[in-house]
Amino acid sequence: MSLTERDATELSRTTLRVAQLVLGLIVAGLLFVGRSEHYFPLTGWPLYESIRIARPDASVNATYLRVALGDGGVRELLAQKLVEYSRAGMIQGTIDAATARNDSPARSAARKHLALLISLKLGTSDFDSISVFQRVWTVDLARVPPVNIARPVMSLPVDRFAVPK
């Protein structure tokens, strides 16, 4: 069955109205939710709008993982690089829980998760232990680069544990 020209025009008009209606609802929704991200997937763009950042400190630190591989080798990974940068926020939660002082199911689950992230990054699950440590550098904002990455002022061990099976 083929459409007549009039049918096609009517159909196009209906499509236009539906598209306008959907767009109108999206725009109304965006205006309604404003800054809130609570109503995902309808969110306006509250991008850095209320930030207040202090001048960077005199030192900066980063968490590293030293992974002992099954073949005897050792790999060192910057924790923040385990996942894509914009999602790196999830890493700190996992590391904090995995290095908690008290033995709990949450700590054991976080260690498993950390091992999973490492295995996805390295493409292998053949590693025995994970050492978590922090490197600290001094910051000199008058220089480019402000941090001499090759010269950390100290390296602090945080925790070391066997890979949970």
Partner: protein, 394 residues
């Protein structure tokens, strides 16, 4: 009131050059760029993760609280499969709906660890508007080829009907709403951008330090910013004014081109020095590229013809079967390593993509301005010649 509505309808129903072809080709660009986006994050990384800061999002309550590995892997694989079918133009309305639903589930799961506002454009708004507006499967698709074989009249890729421009116009309105909203939020309510004069310099300095720690480049303007932090007030006003100016997207093609050129530079600088990507927005900007005009000079080339001939010999049904097999293989091996092909082994990431897109996009926009200028000059020359000829005749 009726005049206003008539004007509103006139804006929506104005022809858009090459609308059918560019929207059809855009579908392919959209699907491929989405595949790149999906390849950036392996959803399996969420398995067993501790709850994120946004765990109470109402939308997340619709999804499993601790998704199994099978669920996470399944979402990624099915989304990749749907995107490949969409790129090839197979059952376009169904594949669009699948891309919308699966993409939304994926983005919601990730949003537990922070909502990425820019991603909502390709994940929710564009597929939804394309689904409602339809027509992006009417050209450059296996669906269209099969319909043609059944005797249906094919849609010309140079068809400029407004029907194929509904999604473009809708996204234009969305950008004209979202960007100014971002600007307004910065200066009203809790907004800090006019209250303090060092918001942007401190952010840039902080990100310069972070960047070096991540093994990337430092901001070469760091020492200058450190010494002249008060300049930040003017930089902040500049960013806010730039975001507010996006209402001008609705003012015409020339304003649109200038704003898109500026936004490409803005994103590239943000990716380089603020470590903010907004890579999802590429899908929105790509809607305004005339892919049809870019494709026309290429389609007649011997190499393209050589590649096309075997597909034409196979016919649409066999091609469909072949594409389905390839799609299943790619989706099935996605986590085994195929996904790395879409980032060229990690070379094209959230940051580097802007260093490719920004110069190419800027070049294209400048070229289009130059062509317009040439066209105007030619028209002026012709009208002068005609005037002289008229005078000579008199």
């Amino acid at each position: 009131m009726s005049t206003l509505l008539a004007r509103f309808d006139e804006w929506w129903t104005r022809p858009w050059p090459n609308a059918a072809g560019r929207f059809g080709l855009y579908r392919i660009v959209f699907a491929l760029s989405y595949l790149w986006h999906v390849s950036e994050f392996d959803l399996r990384a969420l398995f067993g993760a501790p709850p994120g800061p946004e765990y109470s999002l109402p939308f997340l309550q619709l999804l499993p609280t601790s998704p199994s590995m099978w669920f996470l892997q399944g979402v990624d694989v099915l989304l990749v499969l749907s995107l490949l079918l969409l790129a090839a133009g197979i059952r376009v309305p169904v594949s669009t709906a699948l891309v919308l639903v699966l993409g939304l589930i994926r983005e919601a799961l990730l949003s537990e660890y922070g909502v990425e506002n820019g991603n909502l454009m390709p994940v929710v708004f564009i597929p939804l508007l394309a689904f409602v507006g339809s027509g992006w499967g009417h050209s450059y698709s296996l669906d269209a080829w099969r319909a043609q074989r059944r005797g249906e009249t094919p849609v010309s890729s140079t068809n400029d009907s407004w029907r194929y421009a509904l999604a473009m116009r809708s996204v234009l309105i969305l950008l004209a709403v979202l960007f100014p909203m971002a600007g307004l939020f910065k200066v009203t309510g809790d907004g800090t951008w006019l209250r303090y004069d060092d918001v942007l310099p401190m952010l840039l300095l902080r990100r310069s330090v972070d960047s070096v720690v991540m093994g990337w480049w430092a901001n070469p303007l760091g020492p200058w910013l450190w010494a002249h932090a008060s300049i930040g007030y003017w930089m902040q006003i500049g960013v806010v004014a730039f975001e507010l100016s996006f209402v001008l997207l609705l003012a015409g093609a020339a304003a649109r081109r200038i704003l898109f050129a500026a936004v490409l530079v803005f994103h590239a600088v943000s990716a380089l020095w603020v470590m903010v990507s907004f890579g999802g927005m590429l899908a929105a900007y790509a809607l305004f590229v005339d892919w049809e005009s870019l494709w026309q000079p290429v389609r007649g080339r011997a190499l393209v013809d050589m590649l096309r001939r075997p597909l034409l010999a196979l016919g649409p049904d066999r091609c469909l079967a072949m594409v389905c097999i390839v799609a299943v293989v790619v989706a099935g091996t996605w986590h085994a390593g195929t996904r790395h092909a879409f980032t060229l082994g990690g070379l094209i990431n959230w940051r580097t993509i802007w260093f490719v897109v920004a110069p190419v996009g800027l070049g294209g926009i400048l070229l289009s301005f130059w062509r317009d200028l040439e066209r105007h000059r030619f028209a002026a020359r012709e009208s002068r010649r005609a005037a002289i000829a008229d005078r000579v005749q008199l």
